[in-house]
C-alpha cells in the first residue's frame, strides 16, 4: 500500500501543475486588470502603471507564472518590492518631534507571506481564520446528511414500490426543484424572524455558542437541501444490491432482514456511497457562500466571494490551489478506504 500511496502522491504533482496553469491562464484571460480596481475613483495611466508594478502584473506572463509557482511552493511572495536601492539611513531632524525616531528602510530583497491585494492581509492567515466557521457548519452538514440519507435510503429501498417509497421520492423531486436561495430566504424569515426559533443571523467568538445558537439553522437548511439528491442516489445503490443473488441466498439461509440490510446490503453499497461522500468532502472546506453570506458567517465561502468581487487574485488563487490539493488528497484517502470497506479491493 505504501508504494501505491507514494505513486499517487507523485502523480499529484503534474496534476497540480496543470491546475495552476489553468488558473493562471483563466485569471489572466478573463480576470480583468486588478490595478484598475485598486486605483481609486480618479486615476491616471501613471498611477495604474505604478500599481501594476507593485503587484507584479507588469511582468511577462512566464515570469508571473514563475512567481505563482514559487508562491504555491513556499507560501511567500518575493516580487512585490521591486525597488532596488540601498536602505535609506535614518536622519536626525532637530525640528521634528524627538519621540518620532525614523528607522532605516528594511533591507531590500526579502520575501514575505503572500498578501491580499485588497486588504493587505496575509493570505495564509485569511484561509486559517476563515476555515473554522466553515467547518463548524459543514462538518455537521456532511455527517448528518450522510447518516440521515443512509438510514432513509435503506428504509425506502426496503419498501420499494410502496406508497411510502413513492411519496418520499416525489417529495425528493419537489425539494430538489426549489432553489437553495429560496429555502434560505423563507427559512430565515420564518424560523429566524417570524417565529424566533433561531437568530436571524450572526456569529460569535465562542465555539459552543456558535454550535448551539448560530449554526443550527444554516446546518438544517444545508441538510434539508442536500438530503433529497443524496437519498435518491443512495436508494439506487441499495436497490442495486438488494436484487443480487447473495441477498437471496442470505435470506434463504434464514438470516434476519435487519442483518441482511444492515450488514450485507449496506456494506456492499458503501463503495459507491463512499465515492459520493469523497466527492462532496472537499466542498466542506470551502463552505457554502450563500449560507455564509446570508447568515453572516465569516467563513471561507464568503471570503472567496468577496475576493472574486474585488478581483483579489492572491486570495482566489490560494483558495483554488488549496481546494485542488485537498481534492486530490481526499481522493487518495477514499481510495485507501475502499480497501477497509471491501477486502476484495487490491492496490496496483
Amino acid at each position: 500500500m505504501g508504494a501505491y500511496v507514494l505513486r499517487r502522491i507523485g502523480q499529484m504533482i503534474p496534476t497540480l501543475a496543470g491546475v495552476m496553469l489553468l488558473i493562471f491562464v483563466l485569471f489572466n484571460a478573463v480576470g480583468g486588470d486588478p490595478a484598475l480596481q485598486l486605483a481609486g475613483k480618479i486615476t491616471n495611466k501613471e498611477q495604474i502603471e505604478n500599481i501594476r508594478k507593485q503587484l507584479g502584473v507588469d511582468q511577462p506572463m512566464y515570469v508571473q507564472l514563475g512567481y505563482f509557482a514559487f508562491e504555491v511552493a513556499t507560501g511567500f511572495n518575493c516580487t512585490w518590492r521591486s525597488y532596488t536601492e540601498k536602505p535609506v539611513p535614518p536622519k536626525v531632524d532637530a525640528k521634528a518631534d524627538p519621540k518620532v525616531a525614523p528607522k532605516a528602510d528594511a533591507p531590500k530583497g526579502g520575501c514575505e507571506a503572500v498578501r491580499s491585494w485588497a486588504t493587505n492581509e496575509e493570505v495564509p492567515k485569511i484561509l486559517a481564520t476563515r476555515i473554522g466557521p466553515t467547518l463548524t457548519i459543514m462538518i455537521p452538514v456532511l455527517v448528518l446528511e450522510t447518516v440521515i440519507a443512509l438510514l432513509l435510503a435503506i428504509g425506502v429501498a426496503y419498501m420499494r414500490g410502496t406508497l411510502t417509497d413513492r411519496m418520499i421520492m416525489m417529495l425528493c423531486t419537489v425539494a430538489m426543484s426549489i432553489s437553495f436561495l429560496v429555502y434560505i430566504i423563507v427559512a430565515q424569515y420564518f424560523f429566524g424572524f417570524k417565529w424566533g426559533i433561531f437568530p436571524v443571523q450572526g456569529w460569535s467568538d465562542n465555539f459552543w455558542k456558535n454550535v448551539a445558537t448560530y449554526a443550527p439553522l444554516p446546518v438544517m437548511l444545508a441538510i434539508f437541501v442536500g438530503l433529497a439528491p443524496a437519498l435518491r442516489l443512495y436508494r439506487s445503490f441499495f436497490l442495486d444490491e438488494i436484487n443480487n443473488d447473495y441477498v437471496r441466498t442470505a435470506r434463504a439461509k434464514g438470516v434476519s432482514e435487519n442483518m441482511v440490510m444492515l450488514k450485507h446490503v449496506m456494506r456492499n453499497a458503501m463503495i459507491p456511497i463512499l465515492t459520493n461522500v469523497g466527492i462532496a468532502l472537499p466542498g466542506i472546506f470551502v463552505g457554502s457562500f450563500l449560507l455564509e453570506s446570508f447568515f453572516s458567517i465569516p467563513g471561507l465561502g464568503r471570503e472567496i466571494l468577496v475576493a472574486v468581487n474585488r478581483s483579489d487574485f492572491p486570495v482566489i488563487k490560494a483558495a483554488t490551489v488549496y481546494l485542488a490539493m485537498l481534492t486530490m488528497l481526499i481522493n487518495l484517502l477514499v481510495d485507501v478506504l475502499y480497501k477497509a470497506v471491501d477486502p476484495r479491493v487490491t492496490f496496483k
Partner: protein, 625 residues
C-alpha cells in the same frame, strides 16, 4: 414600548424554541473540539450601539482605503484637521484638530494650519507607555504617504499637481527606482514649528482646505506606521474619539472610547429651530462631553434580507441605507406617508437623506454616433435624453428612493443650485421623435428602426457592470425607451474592471456612472467634465473650451455669488451640449429605534457615533441585550 415587550413575550412562549436546543446539542456531539464558554461580552451598564454596514470593510489605514465603510470607521479612529459642523445645513467647515479654519493666503496658494496643543494619540504598545502628542510632522508624514508609490493610495490624486515640489520629488524617485524618503524636504510643505504646518500650492485652489476635512486626510504617527509595516490596515492608531477594540474581518468591528480623547462639545450655533432632529440632538447632547457611547458594534452584512431582519428583530439599534427591496414594507405609502404600523408601534423614526451624489449616463463624446459638437450631434443626444423615461426609473428601479437631477452637482454641496432647471433633460418622447425627424434620423432602409442622416444603421451600445441588478434594470429601461422612439439599442454586461478600462479609453457609447461627493463643493462634480481630465475622470470625454475656461476661473475664486454665477453658466453649457443624461440623486431612508438619541445623518460625514446617545434602560427593556 409595550409592543417591544409583546414581541419578546411571543418568542419566549413558542414551544418550537426547544428545537434549537435539541439541534444544537446534536451538532455539538458531532464536532470534536471544544472551548469554554465565556460570559456574555457587553457589560450591562455600558452604552452600546449595534448596527450593520451593507458592505464588507477592507481595513483602517486611512491613506490606503477608499470604500466608504472603511473610511467611515477611520472617521472615528482618526481626526482630520477640519470637519463639518454637525448641525449646520448647508454644510459648513469647522476646525477639529486645528485651532481655526485657515483662510487662503497669497491669492489662494498658501494654507497654514495650526494644531491645537494637547491632542494625544490613543495608547498603543508602539508608544511604550508614554503619551504621544499630535504634532505638525504627523500631518506632513500623512500627506507624503498619499504620494508614496508603495502605499498605493487610492486618494493620491488629491495631492497630485497641487503642492509645489511634491510631484517633482515623486517623479524623481520613480525614475531612480528609489523608495520614498519621508525625511526629504518638499518645497511646498513647511513645518514651521511643533504645531504649525503650511502648504504652498502651484495654482490657487480655494477648495484645497476641503481635503483636510476628509476622513482619509488625517495625521498618523510615523512610528506606528513603520512599526506595523504591512499590517497597518489592522492597527489603526489615531487621535479620534474611538479605538479599534476588536476586528473579525468581514464579521465584526468593535470600537470603544479612546481614553486619550479630549472630548467634544456639540456646537448648537447653526442648529435649525424648526428641525426636530436638531432639537433632539440639542436636548440629548448639548453641554455634554462627547462621545457618550462607550462601545459601537458593527456587523458587515452584504445581503439585504438579513440586514433588514436584524433591525426588525431588534438586534440592531438603527438601520441605515435601507435596502430598496424592503422600503415598501417599511413605508407602504412612500417616503412622505406614514411608517408601517409595526414601526409606528415601536416608535421608530425615519430619517430621509438626499445623497450629495449624482447618477448619470455618459455619452462618449468621441463616438461617431452619440458624440460630436455639431447641431445634429447635439440634437441626437437630446433626443435620446428626452426618450429616456426617468420618472419610471425613480418609481420602479429605485422604489421612489431618488430625486431628479437637473445638473451634475449633488444636492447639499456648496454651489448646488436647487432652482436650476432645464427642460432639455425632461422625459418627452414626442419631442424626441420630433428632434430625430427634424435632423434626419429617420428609417431610411424601412427595417422599422431609425438610421443616421447619412444612412448608417443605428445600433447603440449600452455598457453596464455585470452582476448588478440595478444596472441591468437601467439598461433594460434604456432599451425599452429608445425602442419606443425607433432607436435600436443593445446592452452589454461587462466586468467591473473591464468597464472602468473601457470608459477610461473611450471604448463605449453609453454607460451609467455614479459619483459621491468627496468634499462638499460643486467643483468635485464639475471636474468630471473638465476637458484635461479626459482619461482620468472625464469619462464622457467632453472637451469644450468655454467650459474649461470657466472651470479654471472658478478654482481661483473662493465661495461667493460670483463663483456661483460661474457654476450656473457651466450648468447651462452642459444642458446645451448634453454630454450626460442626468439621472438622479439617490436618497436613503434610515430607521432609528426610539432609544437612540441625538441621531442625525450628516450629508458628507459617514458616521454619527460621536453624536449619539442611548437610553440604556429603554434599550435593555426592548432588546434584552
Amino acid at each position: 414600548m409595550s409592543q417591544i415587550g409583546i414581541s419578546h413575550h411571543r418568542k419566549s412562549e413558542t414551544p418550537l424554541r426547544a428545537i434549537r436546543s435539541v439541534v444544537g446539542l446534536l451538532i455539538a456531539t458531532i464536532v470534536a473540539a471544544g472551548f469554554v464558554m465565556p460570559a456574555f461580552s457587553a457589560p450591562a451598564e455600558k452604552k452600546v450601539v449595534r448596527l450593520a454596514f451593507r458592505a464588507i470593510e477592507t481595513g483602517f489605514d486611512p491613506q490606503r482605503v477608499e470604500d466608504r465603510y472603511s473610511v467611515g470607521i477611520c472617521e472615528n479612529l482618526f481626526e482630520s484637521l477640519l470637519t463639518y459642523d454637525w448641525l449646520a445645513r448647508p454644510v459648513r467647515l469647522a476646525p477639529q484638530a486645528v485651532e481655526q479654519v485657515p483662510e487662503g493666503e497669497e491669492g489662494g496658494t498658501r494654507f497654514t494650519f495650526r494644531l491645537k496643543p494637547g491632542i494625544y494619540f490613543a495608547p498603543d504598545p508602539v508608544f511604550k507607555g508614554k503619551k504621544r502628542e499630535l504634532v505638525a510632522a504627523d500631518v506632513e508624514y500623512a500627506i507624503k504617504r498619499f504620494r508614496d508609490p508603495e502605499v498605493r493610495s487610492p486618494y493620491s490624486w488629491l495631492f497630485e499637481d497641487k503642492i509645489i515640489g511634491l510631484d517633482e520629488y515623486v517623479d524623481k524617485i520613480k525614475k531612480a527606482n528609489r523608495k520614498f524618503d519621508y525625511d526629504t524636504r518638499i518645497e511646498g510643505i513647511t513645518v514651521r514649528d511643533r504645531y504649525t504646518i503650511s502648504f504652498k500650492l502651484r495654482e490657487p485652489d480655494y477648495n484645497f482646505i476641503y481635503f483636510f476635512a476628509m476622513p482619509n486626510v488625517v495625521p498618523v504617527a510615523r512610528e506606528v506606521i513603520e512599526a506595523y509595516g504591512a499590517d497597518t490596515m489592522a492597527h489603526p492608531v489615531g487621535t479620534g474619539p474611538f479605538v479599534l477594540k476588536e476586528w473579525v474581518r468581514a464579521s465584526k468591528i468593535v470600537l470603544e472610547r479612546n481614553p486619550n480623547y479630549r472630548g467634544h462639545k456639540l456646537n448648537t450655533e447653526f442648529a435649525d429651530a424648526n428641525d426636530s432632529w436638531d432639537q433632539d440632538a440639542i436636548k440629548s447632547l448639548a453641554g455634554k462631553t462627547l462621545p457618550l457611547i462607550d462601545r459601537v458594534e458593527i456587523y458587515p452584512i452584504e445581503q439585504e434580507q438579513p440586514r433588514y431582519l436584524a433591525f426588525m428583530d431588534l438586534q440592531h439599534d438603527y438601520l441605515e441605507e435601507t435596502p430598496l427591496a424592503f422600503v415598501q414594507q417599511l413605508m407602504p405609502n412612500g417616503a412622505k406617508g406614514k411608517l408601517a404600523p409595526v414601526l409606528e408601534r415601536r416608535n421608530v423614526r425615519m430619517f430621509r437623506e438626499d445623497q450629495p451624489e449624482v447618477v448619470w449616463d455618459a455619452f462618449n463624446m468621441d463616438d461617431p454616433f452619440v458624440g460630436g459638437y455639431k447641431p445634429e450631434n447635439i440634437a441626437f443626444r437630446r433626443a435620446l435624453v428626452h426618450a429616456h423615461d426617468r420618472p419610471s426609473e425613480i418609481k420602479i428601479v429605485r422604489s421612489g428612493q431618488a430625486i431628479v437631477a437637473n445638473s451634475p452637482i449633488g444636492p447639499g454641496v456648496v454651489g448646488f443650485d436647487p432652482t436650476f432647471r432645464t427642460s432639455e433633460q425632461e422625459y418627452d418622447p414626442a419631442r424626441a421623435r420630433a428632434l430625430l425627424d427634424m435632423y434626419g434620423y429617420i428609417d431610411r432602409d424601412k427595417d422599422g428602426w431609425r438610421d443616421m442622416p447619412d444612412g448608417r444603421q443605428i445600433i447603440l451600445q449600452y455598457k453596464y457592470q455585470a452582476n448588478e441588478q440595478e444596472q441591468r434594470q437601467r439598461a433594460a429601461l434604456w432599451i425599452k425607451c429608445l425602442a419606443a422612439v425607433g432607436i435600436r439599442m443593445e446592452a452589454q454586461e461587462v466586468q467591473f474592471s473591464d468597464l472602468i478600462k473601457d470608459r477610461k479609453v473611450g471604448k463605449f457609447q453609453m454607460s451609467g456612472i455614479a459619483w459621491i461627493a468627496d468634499y462638499p463643493d460643486a467643483q468635485n462634480f464639475l471636474q468630471l467634465l473638465y476637458g484635461p481630465n479626459t482619461d482620468i475622470s472625464n469619462d464622457a470625454r467632453f472637451k469644450l473650451a468655454a467650459y474649461d475656461r470657466l472651470y479654471l476661473q472658478a478654482l481661483r475664486i473662493p465661495d461667493s455669488p460670483e463663483r456661483n454665477k460661474i457654476y450656473r453658466e457651466m450648468n447651462r453649457l452642459l444642458a446645451a451640449y448634453a454630454p450626460w443624461r442626468y439621472g438622479v440623486h439617490r436618497s436613503f431612508s434610515h430607521f432609528i429605534n426610539p432609544w437612540v438619541r441625538g441621531y442625525k445623518k450628516h450629508p458628507i460625514l459617514y458616521t454619527s457615533f460621536k453624536f449619539l446617545d442611548i437610553d440604556v434602560a429603554m434599550q435593555r427593556a426592548a432588546t434584552n441585550h
